[in-house]
Symmetry: C2
Subunit: 213 residues, 2 copies
DNA sequence: TCAATAGTGTCTGTTAGACATTATGGA
DNA sequence: TCCATAATGTCTAACAGACACTATTGA
């Protein structure tokens, strides 16, 4: 008898201006792995929260279901399911003893199913980023507009136009200034902002045929 | 011992210009239910295909994972998982013996978990419709542009502008005319088109802050 | 003073939506 | 003939992207 489901978490954070995922350190002669836990006892969000807390010392700021992966054909009768969850913690969150942050661009060798889980999770982050405030959850509560733009560029995988980005942000009434400024090396200090959505004006989505095809 | 996972299918089609889902007829004194099947033996897509074939006589034209629902707290140790899948069949597909199409706006009473599954599935349809050709999979292979527009309006839940819709469609090179025309009651006959995507030009997605907030 | 970064104002090409008009069938 | 629907052309307001400029700090 097999058939217990597994909850697997892809914890995401920005480290050195790159997207990174939380991994358990490899034991002697094995590979690093995503944090996981047998399903049961508590709810799925509860499992995710405890796994992220174990690996980073703090609760996730956002989480979402990413998909389901079926354990290979090894168990022909009653193949076990793995539920893949994606979660975020703010930039600057350290990894705790026995864990580390690995940039997604240079992941260490993982079990094939876990690599697929990471891909699923990143795709989910990108899918949800304009429906939910994913970018804001990857930043500390106070952030500069340049940091926010860099986060969007990281998730979208392309550069954005500074003036247009700020115009759109202003029009959406999503942030408000704290009044504090932060000096970062050379240039003029940047103002700090908070995520403070005002109103959801007609959330009318245009038809985007360019994305199909 | 509990803990076998269940695959539940929300089969979607357009019936009478409304979105409808495939249900199993209620047995004496019970409620109608979504088609489902214990996980095991075959792959998840295989299970979905056989369930849709059983209910509509044909294979689904599209399917996607919609989410996972945990069976209520009834089983504190090892609560069972339900994997919700969403699938489409073309407009005009009948329901087979023991099944029927129920418009989503006026669903009969379902188990609470199944109502949640339907909501998840519809949300998934709407999420994916501009990344994948969901609208085309809900139509027969040859369709009129008015039918296509009505399908988009159904999925988006709002009216679209005819001229703009056709302009965008033309610009995306997604369809090509068959040369046939179909007369539908009174007015001028409409030309029939096929889904024939040409090229995927820079699939650059704009930043849409309006959707957040 | 120069270099580097933050933040803003203006212009222009593109495009979504509104409106009007023509085309072509059935009643 | 009238009416209903298909299909297309033109106008306009909104907006994304480009560019240039000012502002404010550290070296």
């Amino acid at each position: 008898m097999t058939s217990g489901a597994v909850i697997e978490v892809v914890g995401c954070a920005i480290v050195d201006r790159h997207l990174a995922v939380l991994l358990r350190d490899p034991a002697r002669g094995t590979r690093a792995s995503l944090p996981w836990k047998a399903h049961g006892g508590t709810s799925i969000p509860g499992s995710v929260a405890s796994l992220v807390r174990a690996g980073s010392g703090r609760a996730p700021t956002w989480m979402s279901h990413a998909g389901v992966v079926v354990e290979g054909a090894e168990h022909p009768s009653g193949a076990a399911l793995t539920v893949v969850m994606v979660a975020t913690v703010p930039m600057g969150t350290p990894a705790t003893e026995g864990h580390h942050w690995a940039p997604v661009a240079t992941l260490p060798p993982l079990a094939p199913r876990q690599s697929a889980a990471v891909d699923l999770a990143i795709a989910t982050l990108r899918d949800r980023m304009d429906l939910e405030p994913v970018a804001f959850r990857l930043l500390p509560s106070a952030f500069t507009l340049t940091e926010l733009q860099q986060t969007y560029e990281l998730l979208l995988g392309r550069r954005l136009h500074k003036a247009s980005f700020r115009r759109a942000l202003l029009a959406a009434s999503l942030v408000e200034p704290t009044g504090d400024w932060r000096s970062e090396g050379r240039g003029r200090p940047a103002q700090l902002f908070l995520y403070a959505p005002r109103r959801r004006r007609g959330a009318r989505r245009p038809v985007r045929f360019e994305l199909l095809g």
